[in-house]
Amino acid sequence: MHPAYSVIFFTTASGAGYGALSLLGINALFGHLPTDRWLGFAAMAVALGLITGGLLSSTFHLGHPERAWRAVSQWRSSWLSREGLLSLITFVPAGLFGIGWVFFGQTSGVWAWFGGAAAVLALLTVYSTGMIYVSLKPIPNWNNRWVTPIYLVFSLATGATWLYALLRLFGLNPYPLAVFAAIFGALAWAAKLGYWRFIDGAPATSTTATATGLGNDHAGEEGRVRLLEAPHLEENYLQREMGFQVARKHGSKLRRIALVSGGIALLLLLGSGASDGVIGLLAAVVAAGLTGVAVLVERWLFFAEAKHAVTLYYGAERI
């Protein structure tokens, strides 16, 4: 699949924003949230800024962004519609929660319940994002059980990492948050490793033989079907959008880059909590940056490595 930057940025930024928002909401429910208004302003600005920026960027790839409002109408059948609707509804409790924190300096009582509602809706939105990909049968790399949990864990891990860096900038050192971020980060990368192993070893869902009904996959060379002549010499929309190919060696190199930078970020997170000073702060900020790079690479690969069934008509032998 063509890795469109707008969608990669959207899923990464919004994912982190929703993760941060849900952590803020949950901590408000348990009474762990500081009432400092400026901190509240910064935290809500980062969370909602990432969410809104991501959502806006996702409209850039639309042919008719001015009609985007129509996308909330088909929630009965479409995960994309559900995601759109949930993302909009989330703004209501999230906004009220932010108002309580920033304008009234309150994060408990009814304001905490707004936070809790925002947390649930934020996670549901990320769940729907994952389900958009899961619902696409022609892309076996996406149509499996790994995808949605990974979206959720990455959302919480990146949200926690970036939130921790922000709190450090405010001179706070909530070490449990760093530990939470590290644990969820470790979970996320472990799940991603499992996902990569799964997609590398998965049996073919479809082949040129099933796509054309010609030949026979079980008859060896004699049953082999191969493309002799494509319908057109230049790439069409289908090939540009769905036929993106990443060389296997680049793929494995990028996987290592994602894993190593994500892994270093985990160590930095754990180490940063030990120092309340500038070194700890720097470590937290670098961890946030490295996490961003790692997740962007991981997200790019999620698209670039995904093979679509239509490629079977253009020379691919199996997906």
Binding site: L62, Q74, R226, E229, P231, L238, E241, M242, H308
Partner: protein, 250 residues
């Protein structure tokens, strides 16, 4: 509404494509392009048609495959267009309701006035039936020539999709695959017509008729002996006459 129709009439208009007959001439693709460039989903934009990296919208594409290897291999021309599935995920994933399946005849269409151009439907289609029109910013697809088949201004004989009326080999058939007594349904039953990628569970309506088993050739072409000279009545065993001999001996 992108939920699938609940009160479908049972009519399933679709195509039956005979892979045994198709000669790969691309006439159906060209005719489709010609009709639809002025039809329901017009225009089918050609971006930079005479330049580097042209990009055009077509509803029908003809692939050629080679099946098997060596002397037993054969070339099969394979027209590919929308299959008007019974369970089309391209419809259910649409967030706006622009993509829909008609209750009365099962045709899958796009409403160009409400499509936001998110392209998700094209991702959901394993058959590559949908092509995005960058100039219009909306998705386009085969309409089964909805503006021909129900058009009472046309002679009845012309009320078939452009690809069907054009095919010089008679490899394309149009009809109601929901009616088991229709000509197309009988053809499918007789020739063991099949659906593409049944594992996707989209339940395509269109059917493909497999190439017939080839007539067995006892003597491979390379074993022909060179023509004998001066042998008046000796059967010609090479070249054009050998071919005539082989064809007449079938």
């Amino acid at each position: 509404m992108t939920s699938l129709p609940q009160n479908a009439t049972g009519t399933k208009l679709g195509l039956v494509i005979d892979l045994d007959i198709c000669v790969g001439c691309h006439a159906c693709a060209v005719s489709c392009k010609e009709w639809n460039a002025g039809g329901h989903s017009a225009p089918l934009t050609d971006d930079k048609p005479y330049d580097k990296d042209p990009l055009s919208v077509w509803f029908n594409r003809i692939h050629s495959f080679e099946v098997g290897v060596g002397q037993e291999s054969r070339t099969v021309h394979f027209p590919r267009s929308c299959l008007h599935c019974e369970e089309p995920a391209c419809v259910t994933v649409c967030p706006t309701g622009a993509s829909y399946k008609r209750e009365e005849d099962g045709i899958v269409l796009v409403n160009a006035d409400t499509c936001i151009g998110c392209k998700l439907c094209s991702w959901a289609c394993p058959y590559g039936a949908r092509e995005y029109d960058h100039a219009d910013g909306v998705m386009k697809k085969c309409t089964l020539c909805i503006d021909r088949i129900h058009n009472e201004n046309l002679e009845e004989v012309d009320r078939v999709p452009a690809c069907v009326s054009t095919c010089p080999a008679g490899a394309r058939h149009f009809g109601d695959l929901g009616d088991e007594n229709s000509d197309v349904s009988r053809l499918v039953a007789e020739r063991a017509g099949y659906a593409l990628m049944p594992e996707m569970d989209y339940k395509p309506v269109n059917r493909y008729l497999p190439p017939r088993p080839r007539s067995s050739r006892q003597t491979p072409a390379t074993d022909y002996e060179p023509a004998t000279t001066g042998g008046g009545d000796a059967p010609a065993s090479a070249g054009f006459l050998a071919w005539v001999d082989q064809m007449l001996s079938r």
